[in-house]
Every structure is written in structure tokens, then in C-alpha cells.
């Protein structure tokens, strides 16, 4: 029931907003729909907590601790982003960067995007998951090009081609999985792609084929996660699209893609009995962290800056999943959560800052704290949080990840240390003058919608100081599910 609501609401919303998306009240409708989705997600969560794992719709849908908290997170950030985009898009409209027609496209695609992500998370069928991921790309690509500027078109094109190609690899990987599974499960058709069944027989699956399948899947979904060197689309798409989209791309889509990667890793590791997948993940993770932190050094565009920091953090999470083990997985899951919350809130403030100063070029954004204290403090605290300064939750996860690395992968620790230091210097040296100092830019009529920002930051802060037991239980269960060496 909840699941049905969860999935149908966005679809219906997409259709509805496709009709009235240009209407004056469309933003409110959008927010309401997202609220409904969020409530459904909460209900679902409650149910999972009560009755444990769920198998629905002829096993087509499977809810376990691993994806249920991602579902809730996705719905929540979807809601806050919808709230944020209300005033934001209005201002954009007034500045004439958008036409009502495009606003309609925006709203309806937004809902569709939410749908695809939720589908990808909840489905039990690797094939359907693939379809959903591709759908996610398709629904966002037109949002990235919403402004029709040369930059946005280029970004959209790269996004489309790179992710399209990548996702094609993922499809091939899925097929290989299907083949291998078909051998064991015998039955053609449905069951052979159902994750639960695969998970049950993973130890009997043919290793080599699964290794190949994993490579294809990793390349495919890894492109969407933004793992170096498959990341090239990410900064462009984040910087050129409208800010709410940057927020959900960076906050949610990456998570969902990483979720897909991890799901496949679980299967492959089960059959492979070798370190191969772990090593691959760790390699990708480290590469991403290092390269991203270096590229952070050269950024001039505020949204681009934080796009690269997303790459960095996805790299950290991937590395942690690669290390495996209860603590590292736990930390990685926590990291996914806090990163999506923090990063989306940062994008919110960055969007407001860009609107107030009329530019995304960082050297022309100055003295936000005098221009609008809330925005200034929001950006400052958000950046500090994302940089892993306690008492924010990002520190918690990085604490666990680094200590684990120091024990189990000492060779990686110095690399991480250096990369984190460089990233800190790069980001903070750019954020500080934006927040402090003499101000540029003008006050806008519209008050910034900072409720989402501070809501997110509050949650991150809470997670830094105190993780509620049931949440911790989820994480533990999920971590156990993912397993690893």
C-alpha cells in the first residue's frame, strides 16, 4: 500500500504538473506531492521496522534495511528541495531566465525523476533497476539544459552521452548476470534477475562471468556515481543546471547509483571469493578522492566547486565500501546520508548566494555575512560540515573510515590525509572570502528559503553528536547485509 502510494504519487504528479506545471500554484502542488511521497516513505519505513523485510508485487519489489533508509532520505531531500525551489524558481522566472513553459517541464520532470529514483531503490529486479537508472538520466538531462545556455547544452550533451554509454555497459553487465543466474536457477524469465534469488544462490554463480559482469556494472553505474575517471560529466551537469537540480543530482542520484554498485558488489563478492571487487572499489575511491581534491584547487565557479567535492565524497564512500567489514560499511552508509543532506543544503545556500550577487563566479561573491547573515552562516557552516569538521556528521563517518583505513589499509591512510588536507585548503580558502569581508551584490525582495538548509544542517549536527538507536540498528543491519571481508 505505502509502496504503491510511494511510486504512484510521483508518476501522477509528473502527469498533473505536465498539464498545470506553468500555473502560479504549481510550486505548491509540487511541494505537496513531495510531501505525500515523503509521508508514504515514512509509513513504509515504519512498516519495515515493524515487520522486517518486505517482498511485494510478485517479488518485483524488495524493501530491506539497506534501501529503506535510502528511500526515506530520497523522499525527504526531494521534499526539502521542492520547498527550496518554490521561491528560487520564482526568482529565476522574474529574472527572465525561464519561460513558464520550461517551468512546466521542470516541475513535471522533477516528479518523474523522483519516481525513477524511488523505483530504482525499491525494485528487486536488476533489469528494472537498470531501466529506472536510465530513466533517471533521461528525466534529468532536459532539466540540466533548462536554461538553454551554450554551457547548459554542452553539459547536457556530455551528461547524456557519457551516462548513456555507461548505462549501456550496465545493461550488458545485467545480461551477463542473467546468463550466469539462468545457469543456476534454471528457470528462464523473471526470477533469474531478482536480487533476492541471486543473493540466495550467489555462491554457486560462475566466478569469471560474474567478474566480467561486475566490471560492466561498475563501469555503468560508476559513471553515474561520478567515479574518476568516469566522472567527466558530473561537474558540468551540476554547474550548468538549475540549483535545485544540482542539489538532487548531487544529493540523491549519486547515492542511488552507488546503491546499485553496492548491490552488485554484494552478489559478485559472494561468488568470487577474491579481493577483486574490493580492490576495484578502493582504487576508484582513492583515485576519485585524490583527483577531485586536486581539481578543487582550481575552481572559480561556486557550484562547480561543490560538484567536485561531491566526487571527492563519493570517492570516500566508495573506498569505505571497498574496505568492507561492519564498521567501514556502517561508516559508508552514514557518509552517504550526511553527504546528501549537507551537500544539498550547501547547494541551496550557494543558489541563494548566486541569486543575490547575480553570479556564480566566486571571486565576485563577497561578504555574504553582511549581505544576508543567514545565507552567509548557512554557507559557512555547510562548508565546514562537508569539510569534516565536528560536531557535524560528516566528521563521524570520516572518523570511522580513516581509523579503519589506518588499521586495515595503512598504505591508503597517508594518501587520504594529504587529499583531505588539500581539499580543506582548496574549499575553505574559497568559501571564507565569500562569506566574510566587504560585501558585493544587492539584497533581493524575496527572503531566502533557508528552512531546508538549516533543517538539513540540524540533522547533520544531530548525527554528529548522537545517532538514534533505531537508525543505528538500520545501519548495522545494512552493513551486515553488505558484508565484505
Amino acid at each position: 500500500m505505502e509502496l504503491l502510494l510511494l511510486l504512484t504519487l510521483p508518476v501522477a504528479g509528473a502527469a498533473l504538473l505536465g498539464l498545470i506545471g506553468a500555473d502560479r500554484r504549481a510550486p505548491e502542488v509540487n511541494a505537496l506531492l513531495s510531501l505525500g511521497t515523503f509521508l508514504a516513505a515514512c509509513a513504509l519505513t515504519v512498516r519495515v521496522i515493524r515487520h522486517g523485510d518486505l517482498l511485494l508485487g510478485q517479488e518485483q519489489f524488495f524493501i530491506d534495511p539497506f534501501n529503506v533508509f535510502l528511500v526515506t532520505l530520497t523522499a525527504f531531500v526531494g521534499l526539502t528541495t521542492a520547498l527550496f525551489s518554490r521561491p528560487y524558481m520564482r526568482v529565476e522566472l522574474e529574472h527572465g531566465r525561464l519561460t513558464p513553459g520550461r517551468l512546466r517541464l521542470y516541475h513535471s520532470m522533477y516528479q518523474l525523476f523522483m519516481f525513477t529514483m524511488l523505483l530504482a531503490l525499491t525494485t528487486n529486479n536488476m533489469g528494472l533497476m537498470w531501466v529506472a537508472m536510465e530513466g533517471a538520466t533521461l528525466s534529468t538531462v532536459l532539466l540540466v539544459t533548462l536554461y538553454r545556455t551554450p554551457g547548459s547544452l554542452e553539459a547536457g550533451w556530455k551528461y547524456f552521452i557519457l551516462c548513456g554509454v555507461g548505462i549501456a555497459q550496465a545493461l550488458f553487465g545485467t545480461i551477463l548476470l542473467y546468463v550466469a543466474a539462468g545457469k543456476v536457477l534454471g528457470a528462464q524469465g523473471m526470477t533469474a534477475l531478482l536480487w533476492t534469488h541471486l543473493d540466495a544462490v550467489k555462491t554457486q554463480l560462475e566466478p569469471t562471468v560474474l567478474a566480467l559482469a561486475f566490471v560492466f556494472l561498475l563501469i555503468g553505474y560508476g559513471t553515474k556515481v561520478g567515479l574518476v575517471p568516469l566522472h567527466s560529466w558530473l561537474p558540468d551537469a551540476h554547474a550548468e543546471g538549475p540549483t535545485p537540480i544540482s542539489a538532487v543530482l548531487s544529493g540523491l542520484l549519486l547515492n542511488v547509483a552507488l546503491y546499485a554498485v553496492v548491490r552488485s558488489k554484494v552478489l559478485v563478492e559472494g561468488s568470487l571469493h577474491s579481493q577483486l571487487p574490493s580492490m576495484m572499489l578502493m582504487g576508484f575511491g582513492l583515485l576519485s578522492v585524490v583527483l577531485a581534491s586536486l581539481l578543487l584547487w582550481r575552481q572559480r565557479d561556486i557550484k562547480r566547486l561543490f560538484a567536485y567535492s561531491s566526487i571527492e565524497h563519493m570517492g570516500i564512500a566508495t573506498f569505505a565500501f571497498g574496505m568492507g567489514g561492519a564498521i567501514a560499511n556502517f561508516a559508508a552508509l552514514l557518509h552517504m546520508t550526511v553527504h546528501s543532506l549537507t551537500k544539498s543544503s550547501i547547494f541551496f545556500t550557494a543558489g541563494h548566494a548566486a541569486q543575490k550577487t547575480g553570479t556564480q563566479a566566486m571571486e565576485r561573491i563577497r561578504g555574504l555575512i553582511t549581505l544576508s547573515p543567514t545565507v552567509g552562516w548557512g554557507l559557512m557552516l555547510g562548508s565546514l560540515a562537508i569539510l569534516g569538521v565536528p560536531p557535524f556528521g560528516v566528521f563521524t563517518s570520516e572518523f570511522l573510515i580513516l581509523t579503519t583505513a589506518m588499521r586495515t589499509q595503512p598504505w591508503a591512510a597517508p594518501i587520504l590525509l594529504a587529499a583531505l588536507a588539500v581539499a580543506f585548503a582548496a574549499i575553505f580558502s574559497k568559501v571564507q572570502p565569500m562569506v566574510f569581508g566587504e560585501t558585493t551584490g544587492r539584497r533581493l525582495a524575496h527572503p531566502p528559503a533557508l528552512l531546508p538548509v538549516f533543517a538539513h544542517l540540524a540533522i547533520v549536527l544531530l548525527l554528529g553528536l548522537y545517532i538514534p538507536p533505531y537508525l543505528a540498528e538500520w545501519y548495522r543491519a545494512a552493513a551486515h547485509l553488505i558484508g565484505g571481508p
Partner: protein
């Protein structure tokens, strides 16, 4: 029980801080009510610390916060109590002063300052009682963060922003090192409580790694050369009470951490570990005092002198570890005593001096020594109270600075019994450097005091300088009193510190003499020092002389223009400047400095002499480092060069490579 009290007080500090937000713009509310309240809490904290020190017991407490598997552990033991006393006592004076110091229009609103200030205090306290790696690090970084915001109070000035950035960067890097250090020390038990770390058995390699990581982490916070670069930038940038807190107290939390890790968590240390902090410390002493001698900004000068004092402390730590590692427990305890004592002293002396400069800054708006002078006439309170701090930090008996140096030298004198030959050769050098450092500190302090307070005012505007207000006076007086007390009652202090040496070294320094006034800590040696007698004797002689002179020859004293060898037209510009006073040092140790001079050309209409002194460390270490990162970044940028075909090629290549790997494995 006491621990609960401490927690309550720390929370009280935080509460006061948030109370500041109630009326953020009201100077009266924050300055006259909240800050004095904070001072009271500080004194209460000091009292609690003293009580637990006297008890010498250990209290534990677990709060249901933090990581799921790891609730927040708290612990109050002698070591932490000592530093709590330090924090509470010195912050009491500083908070009082701050109450009078912060005015409106200092950039950040007073209420917000109050919040940051008290959070800073609370987090420092939390660092001291944290008993697991996680809460320790959280408090540690919170401390750095709140102080960062205090440093950038006047964020409109670019230099101050730069200083703040440098500070937070170093702090963060240091924190990551500590994180890794704890990662090593948990020793695979995956329990991050200090208790588990004490129990963990590390292989020598891992243990050494942990120790060195800790040294880097805590050294970066303490300002150990070459990790000190943030210090002379950040301390002058901050408002003076904050500089006082940072220099007087925050640096000591780093010392606390070093002791906690090196002597407590890692168990019995290996003797050669000590050599690293010993050598670094000695070098730091020398480096810091030399740069202090050539400064022309009074707060920078004090900052460098803090570097020097941290050098002394780390020398003490090094000695302690060398001795403890070689099994000479009593001597180790002696060296540890010297270390702790110097921490206490420095907390009071340096806070006093920084607050003094703060008053001068407020009265004159001038930080440059070249534009000060003669203030002893305009602001007697500040001048005379600061004089005590000056004499104390110059290490003159019978004030407190002398006691810790005395103890340190005494423990050095034992080193010839060490079983390691080449260390024995190192020790005399060490002694010499410590002595030289002390003497140079005297030089620096004479320059500091003489140029600011004595002579003729170098600027006309100084004539309007006003003395500080009553809150400030009380604060200064409190700290000065502390200096006197620590100087005159070493026996009692050392007795109290015995609990710590017993806890960390497992030995106490015996008290050889029966007299309450006589300090004779060195076992088996007729060595003693009685400050009270010393002071009384000096006073007696001085007063007697004065009396005799008065009685015998009652001539009146006539005031006249300065004689000056009958030279006559004497102007303030004829006095020696700060640059001039530093000239001998500059000349002697040229190789240390990175000097750029601007000499007047012959027949110059408006001859101008300017000299700028930078640290070579920038050219030698940090600029190459950032340059390397820059180059790497540029190299990395080549990867991202816009062509979609190339991007596709990346994916393609990655795919093929991984497939190959998958096939072969």
C-alpha cells in the same frame, strides 16, 4: 561527584554563551553580566580541579551521546585536573578583563562574541575531561572552530582572514593526524575509549608511529617549529583576551594531549621517543626567542615568545620521556614537574602580557612598537601590573618563571647518569640552549617593556592614552597575583602536582627539607631554593638601604630637563626604536632571518629606512609545498579538457583494462 560538577560548569559556560544571543547588541548585558559570570564559573572550575587534585582520585562518567557503539566517556584524573585548574584560574582573570574589553563595533556583535568565547572555554574544558577518542576529537575541533571565529572577529581586514585560514588549516591537518594516531592506538579492538587504548598491546613499530603522529598533531596545535607558522599570524589577529586564551590556555591543551598520549595511553614509553620532542623543543626555544627579539609588533613579539615557551615545555616533555624510558623514574618525575610548572606559569604570565597589550591597543589604537612609548605615565595600572608579568617571563627570581626554569635545569643536571652515551653529549648543548634562551627572553622582555611603557611617547597622540577600566584592572591584578603566588609557593604547588607524577611516572619527587618555605626536590643532593626567604632578604636589604639613605642624607630631589650629556634639544625620535633594539640579534643571527632592507639613497630628500623580516621556513618548506600542489592541480586539470571524445576514451580504456584484469585474475 567532582566530575559531574565539572560537566555542569562546562555546560554553564555554554549556557552563558547562548544567553549572549538574547541581547546580542547589548554591551552592558554581555560585558557587565555574562563575562563576569563566566569568570566566576572559571574560578569554580579551578576549585573543583584543585579539589580532585588534592584527592588524587579518578572519576569516570558515561553520557549517552556520540557514536552508537561508543557513548561519550568522561574522566577526571590528576593530569586533567591540573589543566582544569590552569584553564579555570587563568580564564577567570581573562574573562573579567574581556568583560571590560569588548566594545560595540568590533565587527562581530558582542553577543555572538560571547557565544564563541564561552564555547571556546567549554570545548577546552571538554578536551581535558574527554576519555574516548571521538569526544576528544569533537571537543578538540570545536575548540579550533570557535577560536577561529574569534580570530576573524574583524573579518573585513584581509590579513586577519588570511591568518584565520592558515590557523584553521593547520588545526584541521593536525586533527587528522590525531585521528590517525587514535586509529593506530585502538589496536584493532575497535573500541575508541582511552581505557581500551591503555589496554591495547601495540607492536613497537605501531607504537612509534602513533607517538610521532601524536607529536605532529599536538605539535601543530602547540606551535612547535616548523608547525608554528599559524601562531604568529593568528595571535595578533585575535582580540587580546582571545589571544590571551589561545596563547595561555589553548596551547596547553596540546601539551595535555601530548602527555596523555605519550605517557599515559602508550604505556611505558621508549626512551628514544623523547629525543624527538627534546631536539625539536630546544630548536623551538631558540627559534622563537630570536624572532621575538626582532619583532616590531607587540602582539607578534608575544606570539613568538609563546613559541619559545612551548619549546621549553616540549624540552621538558622530551626529558621526561627519555628519563622514564631509561627507568630513572624520580628524575623523570622531576622533569615532568618542570614541564607542568612551566605550563601553569606561562598560562598566567602570557595571559597577563597579552591583556596588557590589549589595554594599550585600546588606549592608543597602536600595535606597532615604533609608535608607542612613555605609557607608564599615562596608564600606571597597566604598566605596573604588566611589569610583574615581564619580570616573571624573563625568568627572574623570585617570580614564577624562574621556578620552572630552575627545575628544568636541575633535571638537566641529572642527565649525565643516562645510560646512552651520545645523549649525554646532547645534554650539555641542551642545557646551554635553555640557558641562552632564558637570557634572550630577558633581552626580549626588556625591549618589550622599555619600548612600550618607558621613555618618551613617540607619537603626540599617545598623550591622550587612558588607563584601563576597573574590570580590566581586576583581571590583570588577578593574573599578576597568580604569577606571584606561583613564584613564592612552589612547594605547595609541587606537592599538589605530585599526584600527576604518581599517575604518569609512578613516582613522586621527595621533599628533602622539612621547612614549608624551602624547595629541595632533588633527592640526594644539597640543592634548595627558598623564594620567600629570597624575597624577604631582598626587600629587607632594599628597604634598609633606602631607609639609611633617607635618614643620613636628607637632600631634596630636584626635577630638571634630562641632562643627556648636556646635548640639549632632545626629541622622542632620538630614542632607540624597536628595530634598533633588535639590531644586535639581527646582526648576530643573520642566517636565521629572511631580511629585506630598504636603505635611503645618498642625498635622499626624504630618507626612509624600512626593514621587513620573514621566516625562512616559508621559502624552505611551505611555499614549495603549495607550489607542488599547484603543479599537481594543473597536471590534474589536463585530464579535464572538455572533449567528449576524450572522455569516452577514458571510459573505454577503463572498461578494457578492468575487463583484462577480471579475465586474468
Amino acid at each position: 561527584m567532582l566530575l559531574l560538577g565539572c560537566v555542569a560548569l562546562l555546560l554553564g559556560w555554554a549556557g552563558i554563551g547562548f544567553a549572549g544571543l538574547l541581547r546580542p547588541r547589548s554591551v552592558f548585558f554581555t560585558g557587565r553580566i555574562l563575562f563576569p559570570l563566566g569568570a566566576l564559573l572559571g574560578l569554580a572550575l579551578a576549585a573543583l580541579g584543585a579539589a580532585s587534585l588534592a584527592g588524587g582520585g579518578i572519576e569516570r562518567l558515561v553520557l549517552p551521546l556520540g557514536l552508537p557503539g561508543l557513548p561519550m566517556h568522561l574522566r577526571l584524573d590528576p593530569l586533567s585536573s591540573v589543566f582544569l585548574v590552569l584553564l579555570g584560574a587563568s580564564s577567570g582573570g581573562i574573562s573579567l578583563f574581556a568583560g571590560g574589553y569588548f566594545r560595540a563595533g568590533e565587527g562581530t556583535a558582542p553577543g555572538l562574541l560571547c557565544l564563541q568565547y564561552h564555547l571556546f572555554l567549554a570545548s577546552m574544558g571538554w578536551v581535558l575531561i574527554a576519555d574516548d577518542a571521538y569526544s576528544f576529537l569533537v571537543a578538540w575541533e570545536l575548540m579550533a572552530l570557535s577560536s577561529y571565529f574569534l580570530v576573524v572577529t574583524q573579518h573585513r581586514i584581509p590579513e586577519i582572514r588570511r591568518a584565520g585560514f592558515l590557523y584553521l588549516l593547520m588545526a584541521h591537518v593536525g586533527a587528522i593526524c590525531l585521528l590517525l594516531c587514535f586509529g593506530v592506538m585502538q589496536g584493532g579492538s575497535w573500541l575508541f575509549t582511552f581505557h581500551a587504548m591503555r589496554a591495547a598491546h601495540l607492536s613497537p613499530g605501531w607504537a612509534s608511529a602513533a607517538f610521532l603522529l601524536a607529536l605532529v598533531g599536538f605539535g601543530a596545535k602547540a606551535g612547535l617549529v616548523p608547525l608554528h607558522v599559524w601562531l604568529p599570524e593568528a595571535h595578533p589577529a585575535a582580540p587580546s583576551p582571545v589571544s590571551a586564551l589561545m596563547s595561555g590556555v589553548m596551547l596547553k591543551t596540546a601539551v595535555y594531549g601530548m602527555l596523555r598520549v605519550g605517557l599515559d595511553l602508550l604505556g611505558r614509553p621508549v626512551w628514544w621517543w623523547g629525543l624527538v620532542p627534546l631536539i625539536l623543543g630546544l630548536f623551538t626555544i631558540f627559534y622563537g626567542v630570536l624572532f621575538a627579539a626582532v619583532q616590531t609588533d607587540m602582539k607578534r613579539l608575544l606570539a613568538y615568545s609563546s613559541v619559545e615557551n612551548i619549546g621549553i615545555v616540549f624540552t621538558g616533555i622530551g626529558l621526561t620521556i627519555v628519563f622514564a624510558g631509561s627507568g630513572m623514574r624520580v628524575v623523570a618525575a622531576l622533569a615532568l614537574l618542570a614541564t607542568l610548572y612551566h605550563c601553569l606559569n606561562h598560562a598566567f604570565m602570557k595571559s597577563l602580557l597579552f591583556l596588557g597589550t590589549g589595554s594599550v591597543l585600546h588606549a592608543t589604537g597602536e600595535r606597532n612598537l615604533g609608535r608607542l612609548g612613555g605609557l607608564i605615565h599615562r596608564m600606571p595600572w597597566v604598566a605596573w601590573l604588566t611589569l610583574i608579568g615581564t619580570l616573571a617571563i624573563a625568568g627572574l627570581p623570585p617570580l614564577n618563571g624562574f621556578v620552572s626554569e630552575w627545575l628544568l635545569l636541575q633535571s638537566f643536571l641529572f642527565a649525565d647518569h643516562l645510560p646512552h652515551a651520545f645523549v649525554n653529549l646532547l645534554i650539555p648543548m641542551g642545557m646551554a640552549l635553555v640557558a641562552l634562551g632564558a637570557a634572550l627572553a630577558g633581552y626580549v622582555m626588556v625591549k618589550f617593556y622599555g619600548v612600550i611603557f618607558l621613555g618618551q611617547p613617540r607619537e603626540a597622540s599617545l598623550a591622550h592614552a587612558h588607563d584601563c577600566g576597573w574590570l580590566e584592572r581586576i583581571g590583570l591584578a588577578w593574573l599578576a597575583l597568580g604569577c606571584l603566588a606561583l613564584g613564592l609557593a612552589p612547594l605547595q604547588v609541587i606537592g599538589a602536582l605530585g599526584a600527576v607524577t604518581r599517575q604518569l611516572i609512578g613516582a613522586v619527587v621527595p621533599q628533602a627539607s622539612a621547612h614549608w618555605w624551602l624547595l629541595a626536590p632533588v633527592p640526594g643532593r644539597p640543592v634548595s631554593y627558598g623564594p620567600v626567604v629570597f624575597l624577604t632578604a631582598t626587600l629587607a636589604v632594599v628597604l634598609l638601604t633606602a631607609l639609611l639613605v633617607r635618614l643620613t642624607y636628607r637632600q631634596r630631589v630636584r626635577r630638571a630637563p634630562a641632562w643627556d650629556c648636556g646635548f640639549g634639544a632632545l626629541t622622542p625620535r632620538m630614542q632607540d626604536t624597536a628595530e634598533g633594539f633588535g639590531q644586535p640579534i639581527r646582526h648576530l643571527f643573520q642566517s636565521f632571518f629572511d631580511i629585506e632592507r630598504e636603505l635611503p639613497a645618498p642625498a635622499d630628500r626624504a630618507p626612509r629606512y624600512r626593514i621587513a623580516i620573514r621566516e625562512r621556513i616559508w621559502k624552505l618548506l611551505y611555499e614549495p609545498l603549495s607550489g607542488a600542489v599547484e603543479r599537481l592541480a594543473n597536471a590534474a586539470a589536463r585530464v579535464q579538457q572538455g572533449r567528449i571524445s576524450v572522455y569516452l576514451l577514458y571510459s573505454f580504456a577503463t572498461l578494457l583494462v578492468l575487463l583484462a584484469v577480471a579475465l586474468l585474475s
